[in-house]
Symmetry: C2
């Protein structure tokens, strides 16, 4: 190994171990930690954030990176250096003081948000959120100055490298063009459809047992991960020990069950990342959009499909007790039911992109200084009315306080959800072209063709290629919204 | 604040935050982590151990410490510097390479032990344990050279500062003198005693609910801590967020219930450490022996006493269903039943010290090179036969593989258990002298006199005084085994 590259590997291995501690402590904070532990946890995580920042900003790392760029020749090592450089750049453009300030403000805001959301306490939230927004703007300014990107693009680039509002906006404009009429068309069609609602109480333990069985069916490795509960479901932990969470309601299992399928998609991507690179940026997930494409491959492409629901209908009955509503056809109607609503995470596949577009527009204006934090509720209400015909005035709980993302300054993340949906549709179009009898196989419980394709083309590739290269190698074409549109029309019309 | 002291406070605050991450990750490893996460966790914890070591060995810290010793004048700050120096010394006598090697070997050995213990796999354990012992001997050699202590004393000093085999051995010799005949006398007395054994299945959820209610009664703050499950019960986490664990058997609740009372004693000490010093060595628990004195105050002095069992008998019946065996008198007979057995953590109050003396003698010989790891099972069997009349040959599961301590090289810890029992007896003798109607108060549910005394004299004192000073300020006398003997004779004869 070239000496300069060896130095880089040592530093990034150390960083990877710090990230391990950060990920586990953050999972614990969301899923396990009692209330009064939060200040100490916030301080510890902030200290660790500073340390990780110091590791990435050490002068010898900069020198090694410059040297390695000239010395390394093997293609895979060049890709490794490319990904190291990306992480190095993002860290070296921010001063340690801002990193700590941001971590503290985010931790405080997020923790208080857990109770403020329930209390519909916008004023309380706003006080904690202003410092978070101020930090994000400083961050955007510093990143934008150095990269030449716009303020918002500089933040998007952290989650979806190479993606800009100039690319997103036209694709979102396409969606805004055909999606609202499609929603109306589907609503009209579904008006005459009879859907049996599941009735009864669904004990948490029974739902959890069902969830665990679905995770097994979907290939989750329980010797390298867990399922727990948190306010906002997420996939956390580390590649060797993936922690997914959900939240249960005893009067409704529908969202929790599909939420577990969704997080299992994220989890399998992590669990199958190539172990030989896992300690390097090269071996980590490609981007947030590609990550979301995996959860949406599991949830939307596979999970809500008629053959998959046929496959799992007996499991639902086994754990929750048989009832007519659990017939496969009826489950398929439940899981494709379209209904404009308040909550993004509960939104159906058709209206979901409109929630994302709303957030994209608000957070972009916020970061670029066109609006202030105080303006968000009014703008939220206005756009909810315009895009989904829903009145959210005064209801912060189900309005702008519903998501965790903004509480710790993760601006620029939201577009990834809908990019992910478009990637997933394109991936499954490719799989279907290669496996014409895919639906029959799914119904028969043979999910191997899907996992084999995802594994070879995405999971094992990690960050070996840039996102556009990855998508083109896997599907033979650039990302296009056309597969997403085709998928939605085929499923819903 | 003196500038040198300010430098120290900054460094030790950073260290405290790293310790937070280490404690939570270690708790997770024992209570939450799936099997295949262990290598990555071990590597992350080892990296963190190196970092904490680096923090304590930074040259500017040494300089600040020397300066502060000359400059600081306020008594409390001088005590603070004294405790900082103690931590600094122990770290600066060990090279970083040994610290990492030890952490890795310990993590590997402990993890494999979890399955090896069940499989009675001494040979498998031995292979992982030899490197742990080798590291401990290196550590002892380096510490002994620098401090002038013997090899074993140098390890004991990490857990019980100032304590040496020269002090322990005579006290243990006293115990060896009067304890075996006392055990025989009590066995003879109890032979005619009728004890009703609880019968039935005790669901984990019911036992957990009972445990939570007892923790409440004992003042545990659930907004700053949790109760979970692990193979070996322990009290972990951080002062602001204390994590205690237990293990349940559905055919027996007796040990788990009292185990929770025991860990709650540890937990309350942590939860009541003075918050204004909590980030400094000054604000941390005094020693392992004093820590154990708190769990044994809760378990042995309070928990197994007749009036306490009278107080909680209705709670046992409430959660586990009424049965004659739950009468207070019968519970008192169960919880004072003497029966020589294999397992230290299940041992009764009378035979427990003999388990400790056995381990003290073996680990001392092991560290000082008089025996090798291979010799432990034979020596274990011989001493179990001699002290407790029990044959453990070939049974490693219930023999030398039963405890977690040796798996990661915590040699020198075991004496603390019996020192703790002696401290606890002396503390309660003092409380009883001040509160003559203590038993009546306990039976009536008024535990405040106990908590108030422990809080003022021990919990809030943290590491303000050396251990001998602390004990003398609290009780008016040096540690003596006489209170322990009196307590045992009063309870058991």
């Amino acid at each position: 190994m070239v000496a300069s590259y060896e130095t880089l590997v040592r530093s990034f291995t150390k960083l990877y171990r710090y990230q391990h501690l950060s990920a586990i402590a953050a999972w614990d904070q969301a899923a396990m930690m009692p209330q009064r532990g939060n200040d100490a946890r916030g301080a510890a995580l902030a200290e660790l954030a500073v340390l990780m920042h110091e590791t990435l900003t050490a002068p010898q790392l900069a020198a090694a990176l410059t040297a390695a760029e000239g010395e390394v020749t093997a293609p895979v090592d060049r890709a490794s250096v490319r990904e190291m450089k990306r992480q190095w750049q993002s860290a070296n453009l921010l001063p340690a003081s801002l990193v700590e300030q941001k971590s503290l403000a985010g931790s405080r805001c997020e923790h208080a948000w857990r109770t403020q959301r329930k209390a519909n306490d916008w004023a309380g939230f706003l006080a904690n959120w202003k410092p978070v927004v101020a930090c994000a703007r400083q961050e955007a300014t510093l990143l934008a100055e150095a990269t030449g990107l716009s303020l918002y693009d500089a933040l998007v680039d952290r989650f979806e490298p190479g993606m800009t509002a100039a690319v997103i906006e036209p694709m979102f404009a396409e969606l805004k063009h055909w999606l609202p009429p499609l929603v109306q068309e589907v609503l009209a069609k579904q008006r005459t459809e009879e859907v049996l609602q599941p009735t009864g109480t669904f004990p948490v333990e029974a739902q959890r047992a069902l969830g665990l069985e679905l995770m097994s069916l979907l290939g989750f490795d329980f010797e390298a991960g867990r399922l727990d509960v948190s306010t906002h479901p997420f996939c956390g932990g580390v590649a060797e020990d993936v922690r997914i969470t959900t939240r249960y309601r005893t009067d409704d299992f529908v969202q929790a069950m599909m939420g577990i399928v969704h997080e299992t998609g994220h989890a399998r991507y992590e669990q199958r990342l190539p172990r030989e690179w896992v300690h390097l940026p090269l071996g980590q997930a490609r981007s947030m959009g590609i990550h979301e494409s995996q959860s949406l491959s599991f949830e939307m492409q596979l999970g809500r499909s008629r053959p998959f629901l046929q496959l799992i209908a007996p499991l639902v009955a086994k754990h929750l007790g048989a009832q007519p509503a659990f017939a496969a056809d009826n489950l398929a109607r439940i899981y494709t039911r379209v209904k404009p609503g308040f909550i993004r995470v509960d939104a159906d596949e058709l209206t979901y992109p409109l929630h994302v577009i709303l957030r994209f527009e608000i957070e972009r204006a916020l970061v670029e200084g066109d609006i202030e934090p105080e303006d968000v509720p009014a703008l939220w209400a206005e756009k909810m009315q315009a895009y989904l015909g829903i009145d959210t005035r005064g209801n912060y709980t189900d309005g702008c306080l519903q998501d965790i993302h903004w509480t710790d300054g993760a601006f620029g993340y939201f577009p990834s959800y809908t990019l992910g949906a478009m990637y997933a549709a394109q991936f499954f179009a490719t799989i279907r072209a290669q496996v014409p009898d895919l639906d029959a196989r799914i119904a028969a419980g043979d999910l191997a063709p899907i996992f084999t394709w995802l594994d070879a083309n995405l999971w094992r590739q990690a960050s070996r290629w840039t996102t556009p290269e990855l998508v083109e190698r896997a599907t033979g074409a650039k990302l296009s919204a056309v597969h997403f549109e085709r998928h939605l029309r085929a499923r819903y019309l």
